[in-house]
Symmetry: C2
């Protein structure tokens, strides 16, 4: 099946397409205006044709397949639901919102950060060395977050202050934010290499999450999510209920 | 190799042993008093015998193996470092610290929560329906957190107030904590089923992380980690640097 090639970065780049798996993520994509080219589903799965029929404008090729073919397309042993081939949306210019710059390499961490960005109102940019944001594993990890967060161009971020997540000896978010004007870029470094504030010029500010046991560190997606949460709180973007 | 059976829950239960992979996690285990029974390592890997020799009290069987055997023991295709067979430590009685009760089923999420518990000073308890905390995948995800966090008995938690993470309509952590005395139990529910506050009796308090986009939810390990962070801040367990 040609769609299985979309598990490789080169296949996605050449085709401009990627894969989303499962009824939940597919429903999120459809409700956010994404129109799949093809949807593979199990012959006995009646829900998927119904889901597609609920979006009458969509010109979707529906392909019933066997479990073995679906597993091949999904790239997982026991896919639970449909697998859809969707066009990779173009990145957008940055808006006036804060941005999280993701440098992580692990697909699950990247997906989790996109999901948190959607929850806390951040735009998203991926560094060249990071995992591909449209890898099917990242899309799965984000659980629909791709269709609520905006993926933006790095080029439009020049001149912004960069807050860089570091394991120790950085400022608190409140200390860093109180000295800054305008939307910022939060940098979440690679899992093993971290991020060096100096790479982001003289406006870069190291920020650190306080911990009880300073020997320990946090998972990169947890650290990035806590910092987005703190920045959103500082912006008074939401009020406690 | 008999050690490969430790990837199954039954094999671990019968043997009272589990596996840890990689030089970093093994070093963390050794420094926290864990003594492996056996360490498998690649013949050309000189660092592992040196690491073991640095702990002279340890009566460790060192077994040089081929990459194929190491992959079999590790249960991953390309294990990077040694794989050690270690005894599963017994759970301890709860101390006076706050506890996170983990109900998640995904090994990566469980490991991430253990890592955050170590960072924010929480004891840890696993629900019967959750993933096994000593599954090698959970140990890998926690990156050494198992050896810094305390895994405690659920039986010693009767009478404590339970804060239950819910997606919407709960109190803020500050609202919930200001009405409570003594150490609490934070419940992080299963990824798909969530946690019902009523299951934890009349002392249960639903808590919710405020979000910009209330349609979206957070990854379970992110939500649990943000709540631990907020509770630790409320306790003034650490001061911002």
């Amino acid at each position: 099946v040609a769609a299985a090639r979309l598990h490789r970065a080169r296949g996605r780049l050449e085709a401009g397409l990627t894969l989303v798996e499962g009824p939940h993520v597919l429903a999120e994509a459809l409700s956010c205006g994404i129109r799949p080219e093809t949807v593979f589903y199990l012959e006995e799965d009646g829900a998927t044709p119904e889901l597609i029929a609920a979006w009458p404008g969509a010109d979707v090729e529906l392909v019933p397949v066997t479990p073995a073919v679906l597993a091949r397309v999904a790239g997982t042993e026991h896919p639970r639901g449909p697998v859809a081939v969707i066009p990779v949306p173009a990145t957008e210019p940055a808006s006036g919102r804060d941005v999280v710059m993701i440098e992580v390499g692990e697909p699950g961490n990247a997906g989790t950060l996109i999901r948190s960005a959607a929850a806390f109102g951040f735009d998203v940019v991926f560094s060249p060395g990071a995992v591909d944001p449209w890898s099917p594993k990242v899309v799965r990890g984000a659980a629909g977050g791709h269709f609520h967060a905006r993926l933006v161009d790095a080029t439009s971020l020049h001149g912004r202050a960069h807050l860089v997540s570091v394991v120790a000896d950085g400022l608190s978010v409140d200390q860093a934010m109180s000295a800054l004007d305008g939307p910022i870029v939060l940098v979440v470094g690679n899992e093993t290499r971290g991020a060096e504030p100096v790479r982001f010029g003289s406006t870069a500010v190291p920020v650190t999450i306080p911990m009880v046991a300073s020997l320990d560190s946090l998972n990169a997606s947890v650290a990035g999510s806590i910092l987005m949460y703190e920045i959103a709180k500082h912006r008074a973007a939401f009020s406690h209920r």
